[in-house]
Amino acid sequence: MKLLVCVSKTPETTTKIQLTGDGSDVDTSGVKYIMNPYDEWYALVRALELKEAAGSGSVTLLNVGPADNDSVIRKGLAVGADDAIRVDAEGSSSLFIAKQIAAQAKEGNYDILFFGKETIDYNGSEVGAMVAELLDVVYVHEASKLEVSGTTATVTRDIEGGVEIVEVELPLVVSAAKGMAEQRIPNMRGIMMAKRKPLKVVPAVDAAVSTKVTHYDLPPEKSAVKLIEPDDMTELVRLLHEEAKVI
């Protein structure tokens, strides 16, 4: 089974977002980066499990980004992926990224392309579906369970207030959500081996960028909390009704 896991680099989850003075950009000085949690914890681990269960095959990582991203890619190799491809480009729009991924995927002939359900920075939830369309392949979004038997996959996808269980034929593009697998912490051996695993850097294909962030701002500061005595919940209900007008 040939598996591709698309991974994105995101600020570490405790990062306090700060902006440059005029709000034209995010101030990235001092920001620590990680692999997008959905990609690392669920997509990558499930791909490794499927390869292990099949007893053969390969797991390839793919990132679209600049050379700074190599440390995040190496982490994925340390967790257990066999090799990696980095498309050398600034990933500045979702469709641009998707076109890069589709171009690589066409050459690789993968059985399953794994994505995370969303990045925790731009929260797009769209790159996987774009790649599926560009390749004309079936797509299942936000999958919390994935079983494969022969060329058929049974996928549980999260929907509002429940789940839907579907059956599809490979090749498949799928985006991973919590539940699909359990995070794996790389061990020393994995980290050492990762240094010698192949990481191929390829140039970007031509693609237009038609979205642009023109301005960032931060949520307004909350005014000081209004404390209510624990034995006066009638007062809290009154405030929620009369002041906040939410009930």
Binding site: P11, T13, T15, K16, I17, V26, P37, S94, L95, K117, E118, I120, N123, S125, E126, G128, A129, M130, V131, A132, E133, V138, Y139, V140, H141, S144, T154, D158, I159, E160, G161, G162, E164, I165, V168, K178, A208, S210, T211, K212, V213, T214, H215, Y216, P219, K222, V225, K226, L227, P230, D231, M233, T234, L236, V237, R238, L240, H241, V246, I247
Partner: protein
């Protein structure tokens, strides 16, 4: 023209569809054009969407649309847009929207803005929208400059407005691909409003001590007609189902009221909930970081405070 894909669940529209039509109508007004709605599959009373401003409602219904397949739905939306000459496509940022939006954008070679929470401003041929980024830690204004533009609207972002009367419904005949998704089973919890759509949410954390204590959360939710949520560690140890987990790596929500009991307010938790209109925090530790993000706070033991709050809500509802 603005085309809104108004999704129906089991043939019925939810509030999110009315929000999307309201959004599309306002967008069309800003552009000086009209807003039409597209419904897919068997839908009851589709013309009702006219009440929220759609001047016409189109329906696509065939064997391929009987169950959900992202490719079929995306083809229907993109081909409808082409046939009708709609350049802006609006949908809901929910599980269906997320499954099809990227496909529609790729099909139309369109720029896209997922999960927006404001009506666009128009500048020349471009549209600028506002969306939450970094899981609620910041906002970004995104300009889309392509010929086709695809936008999805985050839930509870825009109040529904009724502006018109029922519209006429016309069926559209489009060449659609066959479905490649065989739906084996759909399970939906009945009763409670799903978390992403809920206006009132009551949430519990590790301070609840164990799943057997959740009745204090459930009782308050019941009294309010609210949906229940939880912090990540609580879902991780299976005290609660994982779809209740809110935060940066869970569901991001923006209800009118978020009540958090026994939750410390870690940055990853706040990221998914701090767009809530009003936040109430109940915690026995006056130093809990969550109080800094709260509108109303109660310093006390949740096992005493929550039942009292439930009683007060019941008394208020009865009055």
């Amino acid at each position: 023209m603005v085309l809104v894909f108004a999704e129906a669940t089991n043939g019925k529209f939810k509030k999110a569809a009315h929000e999307a039509i309201t959004y599309g109508t306002k967008t069309a007004a800003a552009m000086g054009t009209e807003c039409v709605a597209l419904t897919i599959g068997q839908v009851e009373n589709a013309g009702d969407l006219g009440r929220f401003g759609a001047t016409k409602v189109y329906n696509v219904n065939s064997d391929a649309t009987a169950t959900f397949d992202s490719g079929v739905y995306a083809a229907a939306i993109a081909e409808a847009a082409k046939q009708l000459g709609a350049k802006v496509i609006v949908m809901i940022h929910d599980s269906t929207g997320k499954s099809v939006m990227g496909r529609v954008a790729a099909r139309l070679d369109a720029g896209s803005a997922p999960g927006v929470n404001s009506v666009p401003t128009v500048s020349g041929g471009g549209l600028t929208v506002r969306k939450s980024v970094f899981s609620g830690k910041a906002f970004a204004e995104v300009e889309i400059t392509s010929e086709y533009k695809v936008i999805s609207v985050a839930g509870n972002s825009i109040p529904v407005e009724e502006t018109g009367a029922a519209a006429t419904v016309e069926s559209l005949d489009l060449a659609l691909p066959a479905s490649r998704t065989k739906v084996l089973e759909t399970q939906r919890a009945t009763g409670r409003i799903p978390l992403p759509e809920a206006e009132l949410v009551v949430s519990g954390g590790r301070g609840l001590k164990g799943p057997e204590n959740w009745n204090v959360i459930e009782d308050l939710a019941e009294a309010l007609g609210a949906t229940t949520a939880c912090s990540r560690p609580v879902a991780d140890v299976d005290w609660r189902p994982h779809h209740e987990h809110v935060g940066q790596t869970g569901v991001a929500i923006r209800p009118n009221l978020y009540i958090a009991a026994g939750i410390s307010g870690a940055i990853q938790h706040l990221a998914g909930v701090n767009n809530s209109k009003t936040i109430v925090v109940i915690n026995k530790d006056p130093e809990a970081p969550f109080f800094k993000a709260a509108d109303y706070g109660v310093v006390g033991d949740l096992f005493e405070v929550l039942p009292k709050l439930t009683e007060a809500v019941k008394a208020y509802k009865a009055s």
